[in-house]
Symmetry: C2
Subunit: 436 residues, 2 copies
């Protein structure tokens, strides 16, 4: 075993040592493709053993991890990173605990690989079903948070994929120290080193190459701001699982229970401001706007939420600032809310269709038919009745873990867990069958 | 109703009348997007009524359809189209029968839209499930066969999508005549005209625009030769469901029943030559090559199949021509077969992984463990045990219909039926639930 056990200080080559980025990335790609072939065959038991071994290596390396992170933070402060970015970059004992616990949680999840659905006999006599299998090689591009390195690695590993991880350059030392633990854990469990590879150069050309190697990489998952994701999507020559905006709505119908509406509207906006499933626009049916809006204004005032309303809502509540056209399409990610009075569910759905981002939208109603219509007709990755948009989350949905939330329609839509990192192939069982 | 009923001769504007291609395609895109919103709400009954109405209009327009097709054929002969292309372009009473019957078959299929899977209560009290919904707007780009116009329209319609169809310019008049029947059928059933739109210009710029309107088009499905599909995939700014090569293998293991192996190997190669699921390379375990190869040579001789072998197979059967490296990756689509002797299942799987196209691969074996390994480890859209690769087909698999076979890993893999034209969104049912 000692042969396989690199020391945590055995960090990968840093920038200066990697001069030919294309050759380096090609080498990672080839190794990943080879590892993916082996990973397809691995048992759940061995994959779980690797997750547990990685957890032990992280536990043993706490001091080294914090020291590496301190170097990143120091460099970050020197280069003038803002406080929010430094916070995302920082590791502490609690964040290490969460990383280590997360590995145990992923190990405890059911393994989706190998599951066969719908195996049925056909008139010809063959049996046909669909088997869930790993996607192959997954490239993940993210920003400053070093815990993403562990999260992404654990989900790819459990789903039988090889992955190439490219974190933010500001987390270089932290990611290198984590990478050493990942390698040590993989080796201890007898899995190929290249099942998880952390890109060891901060050169941006590495990203350009990673997203343009369809021969080695099956899918790219960018995690980060909208501009990062748009740039990657535009340039990728590999399919991308995207997560763009969350311009989420709550529509309160005339048929709503106003107490529920108040609770949902407040929770959807204020439970957390910076998340993609936070409500950004509240739509009020004209029939209940007068009854509900003053109560909402009072509730939001307690949370210091800035309210921007249409003319009809301002006629009811003069405290509202005037909303401009751009407000209806805004993803504030802040204590700001746009409010619009509409005439019934059709106007609400038309507004959502026009201005929304098809992420998560909710109706508050006690009317069975309207609930049914809203669920069927609103074209968003999550559609809700009488629930806060904040529930749109892999953990709340029971996926056990989440690599991201997809705003794409193809493949995975909404929160993406282990299943979203797999695909299904057809399996055909015969006994010498030929086609007539 | 008469207001809605265009005459078959009321064909769309032809090239000369469409000067601004961008504006024209934008107009189709906008109309399709609007129609898609309406189509999401339509009942199965009304969609089926439209399919049946289209069938009646095609039936009534037989003479017009054949006349339009005769004009296309005439123009095709004048411009020197080859016989194979003219055959694909040609309509006759039997092909019209098949088109009309196909509509009835699609009407009889279960509607995938609205199905909710796995609705379960979560600890928070919300219920979460996944509802199958239309993709939205589908762009289909194909070549000369006019029956694809009806097939594609019927599958998109049944799955609740709007579609924009762009057929080959050589089928211009046939497609225009079919388009009139489609519009008449949609109108009769009260569905929006723009649910199915046939591009009425043969200008190639229309394709360039169709694949670059993500605001109006959700997915592009190209049907045609590899070069068409590669070009579209490279240039598209919209997700593409691709169907590239079928370099399919049959591997006969030492543990095979040789009679079954012979039957499968002959069927997989000779039942049809031009299809993507036809076997192109036969891999023989060295342990049975001497026993089986002479029988295979005799059987293939009856079908005039040209055999190209590796050195080891030529040592057994001198009749074989010498295979070159390029033969292992060739999709012949012709009565030619590459044969290679390998040492066991690992060598076979390594060959398939290296040279195959991940389309359809089969093992012939009576060994339970090997069958299980081959099914799990071969990374192809269809993996088979003791069955001919020719079974890889939507109808044989029980999908009822097929828009194509996907060689992609994401979204749909293998034969794509109605389900592949849909996606799943999350639905969340609460009763005033908020996140804690």
């Amino acid at each position: 075993m000692s042969r396989h056990l690199p020391q945590v200080n055995d960090v990968p080559a840093l920038d200066a040592e990697i001069t030919d980025i294309d050759a380096y990335m090609t080498q990672l790609g080839q190794a990943a493709r080879q590892a993916a072939t082996q990973m397809r065959r691995e048992t759940t038991g061995r994959k779980n053993a690797a997750l547990q071994a990685i957890a032990r290596h992280l536990e043993a390396a706490r001091a080294d991890l914090l020291a590496a992170n301190a170097r990143d933070l120091e460099r970050g402060r020197e280069s003038g990173l803002d406080a929010a970015l430094l916070d995302r970059l920082a590791l502490d004992e609690a964040r290490l605990d969460a990383m280590i616990e997360g590995l145990g949680q992923v190990a405890a999840l059911p393994d989706p690989v190998g599951e066969i659905d719908g195996l049925r006999a056909r008139p010809s006599g063959i049996q046909v079903g669909q088997m869930r299998v790993p996607l192959g090689v997954i490239g993940i591009i993210y920003e400053s948070r070093p815990n993403v390195t562990v999260e992404a690695a654990s989900l790819c590993l459990k789903s039988g994929n090889a992955c190439i991880l490219r974190g933010g350059s500001e987390a270089r030392d932290s990611n290198a120290a984590i990478a050493a633990c990942l390698r040590a854990g993989l080796a201890e469990a007898g899995l190929p080193d290249a099942a998880v590879q952390v890109v060891a150069t901060t050169d941006r050309a590495a990203v350009g190459r990673l997203i343009a190697m369809p021969e080695f990489v099956d899918v790219i998952i960018p995690r980060g701001g909208k501009s990062l994701i748009e740039r990657i999507s535009a340039e990728a020559r590999v399919p991308v699982i995207k997560h763009l905006d969350g311009v989420c709505h709550v529509y309160v119908d005339a048929s709503a229970d106003l107490d529920k509406a108040l609770a949902i509207a407040v929770n959807a906006k204020t439970q957390r401001y910076g998340t993609c499933n936070t409500m950004e626009t509240l739509l009020l049916d004209a029939a209940i706007a007068e009854a509900l809006l003053p109560r909402l204004v009072a509730a939001y005032a307690e949370h210091d939420v800035e309210l921007r309303g249409c003319a009809r809502s301002r006629a009811i509540a003069a405290e509202l600032a005037e909303a401009e056209e751009a407000d209806w399409a805004a993803e504030y990610l802040a204590p700001i809310l746009a409010i619009r009075v509409v005439d019934g569910v059709d106007a609400a759905m038309a507004h959502i269709d026009r201005y929304g981002s098809h992420h998560t939208d909710a109706i508050v109603t006690e009317n069975y038919g309207l609930a049914r219509r809203f669920l069927a007709e609103v074209d968003s990755s999550s559609v809700m009745v009488n629930a806060s948009t904040r529930f749109a989350d892999g953990f709340e949905y029971g996926l056990g873990a989440e690599i991201g939330i997809s705003t794409d329609k193809l493949h995975a839509r909404g929160p993406v867990g282990l299943e979203g990192l797999t695909t299904r192939k057809y399996v055909v069982l015969g006994d010498g069958h030929t086609r007539g």
